[in-house]
Symmetry: C2
Subunit: 418 residues, 2 copies
Amino acid sequence: MGLKKVNKSLVVQKYGGSSVADQEAIEKVAEKVISSARSGQKVVVVVSAMGKSTDELIKLAKEINPEPSEREMDMLVSTGEQVSSSLLAMAIHKRGFDALSFTGPQVGIITDTYHTQAKILKIETDRIKKQLEKGKIIIVAGFQGVSTALEITTLGRGGSDLSAVALAVSLNAQLCEIYTDVEGIYTTDPRKVKSARKLPFIAFDEMLELASSGAQVMHTRAIEVAKKFNLKLHVRSSFSKKEGTIIMEKPPLIEEVIVRGVTLAEDEAKVTLCDVPDRPGIAAFVFDQLAQSGINIDMIVQNVSRRKMTDISFTVDENKLKKTISKTKEISENIGAGRVISNKNIAKISVVGIGMRSHSGVAARCFSVLAKNKINIDMISTSEISISCLVKKESGKKALRILHKEFKLDKKKKRGKR
Amino acid sequence: MGLKKVNKSLVVQKYGGSSVADQEAIEKVAEKVISSARSGQKVVVVVSAMGKSTDELIKLAKEINPEPSEREMDMLVSTGEQVSSSLLAMAIHKRGFDALSFTGPQVGIITDTYHTQAKILKIETDRIKKQLEKGKIIIVAGFQGVSTALEITTLGRGGSDLSAVALAVSLNAQLCEIYTDVEGIYTTDPRKVKSARKLPFIAFDEMLELASSGAQVMHTRAIEVAKKFNLKLHVRSSFSKKEGTIIMEKPPLIEEVIVRGVTLAEDEAKVTLCDVPDRPGIAAFVFDQLAQSGINIDMIVQNVSRRKMTDISFTVDENKLKKTISKTKEISENIGAGRVISNKNIAKISVVGIGMRSHSGVAARCFSVLAKNKINIDMISTSEISISCLVKKESGKKALRILHKEFKLDKKKKRGKR
């Protein structure tokens, strides 16, 4: 990292679908972009498709073919970002500034060949750099690239964030701004807990835990890449001028913050594979088989075994439950395990904070405050910086409020200087 | 021409915007494509954007910037054909056939750098050929290409026809089918004259005269290319199985047909530049100046001069009248000519047929039948295979009916074998 010269005058800005939903919104984005250009910065803008336009394209496709080929889906949906990026260029032109829009393939975003969920292999930045040097504002259609087989690919969920972060890293930008329809990262979901507070800073690791625990602001993949290359992110609203939340390796005043946020995920289901023979490698086999079927596992709990048998429980996306049960039954027969039970009536509460690394007792405090409020915990899993508990679905929101209050997330703390 | 091997098993089919307007229409196109594939043909399909989707994109652009840059317009509108081509691929997949959609750039349609009206320089057909050999149905987004500067370009009006014809020529196809919302080429516009008849055959030259005289079925550029490479075209309806009209160099039984069709153009205006000094090269100067201002001239008439002065009259698209008058006034001052008069109250009637080459008296017959019906002719111009007359706008439709009847275009003739 220390070897590369950071380009202090260059900023990458990403605007999500709601930020470019219609003419008015696009005009506002143009103003924001120009205001950065006026301040002397070189600007690379990454845009998502307008509002719900991607959903409309998907609907159209499914009407024609309920199981459309992934290659053709990529051809189809990649048009959405091309539309919004050219419109933004026009809005910038109207204000007398020079801008050029590009598709992902045009700016050399090279991916692997996995359609609808391609991974970026490299970015050939020559074309962008040349135009930046000429003083142009560069607009890039997010979410897309061109595969090594010369096919149009898309990057899957959160793809435009990933385009922005990868471009910022490749161009050695000092900062990547993620403009969205919320004002930043909150201690918890403000729609569920009124006293939720916007965080001035958050660490990459905390953000990763929050993102995978139900906070929808940014997708995990983009945060992972930013963390890997130590690229500072600024998540902020495209509808206001307020500062948002800075995501960085080490937020200032980190010692004082033990818990940064709590989240609630209500779209998971629990599956238990009973009476699994306790042989070495058996859990690895189970989860390898599930992974090969494209089933993403979230929490995993395996208790100590009794009489050489154990139960393995895990959670999956509710939508994948049917598929997961059928696959797990297959695995069970294969390894001589017992029956497969599932439960959709669950909610996952997660408490996240890198301060936990050096503070003990956070888990105990969680469990005891939930117990005191008569909320049963069904399953627990922890990482170095997070604690997740499964509770009954109907207790989810209450548990969220209780934990948010318990860790005083509703109280304003002293802020570190930016 | 004799040197290239025609690929008898390959057909290029082009479907216009109304043929892919919605889900149902796209499904029907899929059926048609598959029926050709079933008969053992290799099929390359070129599609336009769905229905009015291009118009909607243009409207969106104009809301944001009344004078959008042509480069960005190409970025924007080229998405329309990408959408319809991927949807058609999905519809074909559903029926168990293998198909791949491609953008213009992906199939190597290389153009010059004139955005919104680019010319095709060459087509690199390797990628298509490779996939055709694998038995795939190829779907190409019409109307678009990639410029030598690696920018997305569009081909202007009639662009998808041009894509289809150019692909058919490059792939040495035996035939290019143009599917549209009419059943073929008619002796005149059936909406204006009830007794209009569909023609089984028409010569390239006749079609060129008809196209530039108001028949909207195909654009001149595509016909010119087909003629140049002697590529047979079949214009037919995507909503029926009926044979349409074959456009070819020498239709069978050509001797018997003197007039193939009559057309009426009601969107032109006449401009007269009075008292032009009769010097060599003066007309060339006038029209060169107009051409440089992007004004397309249709008819031109210059009478014999009296006292070293002459009047030059010409017709232009009504929409360009204001611009034309102002430019012509400028030219007039420049060359010391007189005033500029214009007239929007005109209609152009054209009588077209390659039989005229060997039959005299057609012009006389036109003029006399119009005179007999008290329709004044304001201006006349003729080519080897056509006669055009300007009449008052209110007499246009009547003149059309009279001429259609006079040349017995409403009567069925013996048909040549296909």
